[in-house]
Subunit: 400 residues, 2 copies
DNA sequence: GGCAATATATTTAGCTTGTATCTAAATTAC
DNA sequence: GTAATTTAGATACAAGCTAAATATATTGCC
């Protein structure tokens, strides 16, 4: 046990600067008086903190607005008396973050400014599922560079990279060593992006990022006890309790592959996979051809009895899974996300009706509005969380 | 949003005092030089902090030890050179805490000093299960007073009371309103003990407290991702992830009553209840009479086939429950505690062998060594956590 | 017993960050 | 143009920390 970081006077400035920065980031533009009220600091301190933050590049001082009393489309239509206030604004282009969704078949990169607005996006496909890690990394890197180019963002100004993969990732961002493939990829990706661009890569499980995304901009905004089921081909859960992601010992929290062995169903199948399996077992869809998930959903909408029966089975299965989660975690809300989320809306009434049979504490169940972007949204949020938590430690690159 | 508590210079002292107090509490006695190394502060600051803590009653300065170079049975057999150091010690009798286990039939109160040593204990029984809340509170209060008397502790010096009940309790210590009985009891208990003695009561779910206790002084010491199954008459889980207790939205996390509906078994039965049910169904134990859990365990140890079969069924059931937990939470360790914990040791090999069939991430499974005291131990720990977190806000009563 | 070596204690000066208070500046309203 | 209002800036000072110099108490050795 070496030093436990003594609290020196500088700590005060850090704490207060964080508070001021947080408020300015939320409000976009703030005056000294506002910040005094919000932080409880004196004007002198607020100003000192702001000058500090300006020096670090995190905020900028706006020049006085023209002599237009109620002009501007923004906030202040009120004709203000008194000496005009200095106005400080968050420098949303102090840098950028990247959010990556690295799947088995494809990868997507999203570039966002520091307020989380996505300003560039690009995808790439892997030649095959078993390509070497190095080739996979190449595809990821290309997607990143194309997304940055589309956004007109300098790669040197990327402050953090959030990346989601479909494997257990522990609290420190390390992949479970038993997952040989991803484990190698992990190390390679981080060192490659560090070496090529100097980026810090924050790895997370994709379902966990989906939970972050859903709580940020999905149907779970403001919900502290939230579970997101990423239920496309696979089935994984991202669990937030009291606003924190759960990882468990090896990052495998929410890896429900085996949860349904009681039913004897194949381990980690999501909705799309189940629909395929079960419709094949039932003799395929009405008009032959491959029984894709969208097809079965369409047939059910048209009243096809076989398709409806399959959806009923799916609903019950989902209800059982959600009930297990409800019994152990007691979330306020469960969100179904992933590739089939839009179609899954029709399952909601059935699931909701079944839940009370399986659990004493049924959560609200909704469907994600984020579609394909659910993981990248969460990855962006994850990167932003890192940047916000470490703002005062990060050295911003000089502005363009 | 009023003030967000500006960081003033006083904050530094609070942070540093907390750090110093934590170290002294852990080490029992510490010198200025030790504290400098541990906290990273200067000697001047360390001394100032210590004087401060002495003034508040949290630590005391020991007078210089006699001139006995290697004397004492304690630490310093090393003949020390130089000017002797001032020695500061944690004042373990600055106050006391109470830990309560409030069950359906009985209640137990434990008194502990501020290092957690239990120095008094007393139990009481309820006349019936459905007695009015007020009478129940009276029994609890009596147990508290008797335990304090046994400890020779002044009720006025109780700094916090941890209390465990067999009902969902949310993060703020409130009982789920749907639990009418406990919900009334909750309010009554807190206001009664506040009014009678001025005590602050911290309510928690009993399984959650069991988890705290097990991580403190049981078989899960140092394990951050720990689940404790309180499996006597009922079955409840206390879940810790990353060293924090999980509550969920309404405090019902770990209330697994319905988790086993897949097997059609009665909802929230623990091991003892199951043994009774199943042995009754199988025609009772070899020698007639009530098929109590200890009896079945004894019969199994003697080789009785029926009893062994029952224990096998119990093992599989526990394995399934633990596997569900492992899939969702991925704990490092699961501890089985409660009334039957000692006997449950014989189940461990069976459970451990089955686990890999039901989950990809099987945890270590152990049996609690804490016996009946598991909940009171956790309740004491809960109260101590509160006292330690709020030490600098609590005004200590003047010493006796 | 006296003295060097050693470890700790205490004092003093100075830095950072904060508060409190007073005065100056810039704008609106009349 | 002047008063009222609101914010800015400057000055004095308090809390808490560091750093460096000085003082004190003990051991070990001659």
């Amino acid at each position: 046990m070496p030093h436990a970081a003594a609290a020196t006077p500088q700590l005060l400035r850090r704490v207060n600067a964080q508070a001021v920065l947080r408020h300015i980031r939320g409000a976009d533009v703030a005056t000294g008086t506002e910040l005094m009220a919000l932080t409880g600091l004196t004007r002198a301190s607020v100003i000192a903190v702001c000058e500090d933050l300006i020096g670090r590049g995190w905020i900028v001082e706006l020049d006085q607005p023209r002599n237009e009393p109620h002009a501007g489309r923004g906030m202040p239509p009120v004709p203000r008396k008194g000496r005009p206030a200095r106005r400080f604004a968050f420098n949303r282009e102090a840098g950028f973050v990247l959010g990556l969704d690295i799947g088995a078949a494809t990868t997507t990169a999203a570039v966002a400014d520091l307020r989380g607005r996505v300003i560039g996006r690009s995808s790439g496909s892997f030649r095959a599922a078993d390509i070497p890690a190095l080739e996979r990394i190449g595809v990821v890197d290309l997607a990143c560079r194309k997304a940055l180019e589309a956004a007109g963002a300098d790669p040197g100004r990327v402050l953090a990279v959030g990346a989601g993969i479909a494997a257990p990732v522990d609290r420190d961002g390390n992949v479970l060593v038993t997952q040989r493939f991803w484990s190698l990829f992990d190390v390679g990706l981080r060192s490659a992006l560090k070496e090529l661009h100097g980026w810090t890569v924050l790895l997370e499980n994709d379902a966990n990022l989906a939970a972050l995304g859903e709580r940020w901009r999905g149907s779970g905004v403001g919900v502290d006890d939230l579970v997101v089921l990423l239920a496309g081909e696979r089935l994984g859960a991202g669990v937030m309790e009291s606003g924190r992601l759960l990882h468990g010992r090896g990052g495998a929290a929410g890896e429900m592959g085996y949860l349904d062995m009681v039913e004897g169903v194949g381990s980690s199948d999501g909705i799309a996979a189940l629909v395929r399996q079960w419709s094949a077992a039932d003799g395929g869809p009405s008009a032959g051809g491959p029984a894709s998930a969208p097809r079965v959903f369409a047939d059910a909408a048209a009243g096809d009895a076989t398709a409806l029966a399959i959806l009923d089975r799916i609903s019950e299965r989902m209800a059982r899974v959600i009930a297990s989660i409800a019994s152990l975690i007691n979330p306020e809300q469960v969100v179904i996300g992933g590739a089939v989320a839009e179609s899954a809306g029709v399952l909601l009434p059935g699931i909701t009706a079944l839940l009370p049979r399986f659990t004493a504490t049924p959560p609200r169940v909704t469907v994600s509005p984020l579609g394909d972007a659910i993981v990248t949204a969460g990855a962006v949020r994850h990167a932003l969380d890192y940047v916000e938590a470490n703002a005062l430690e990060l050295a911003l690159p000089a502005p363009a």
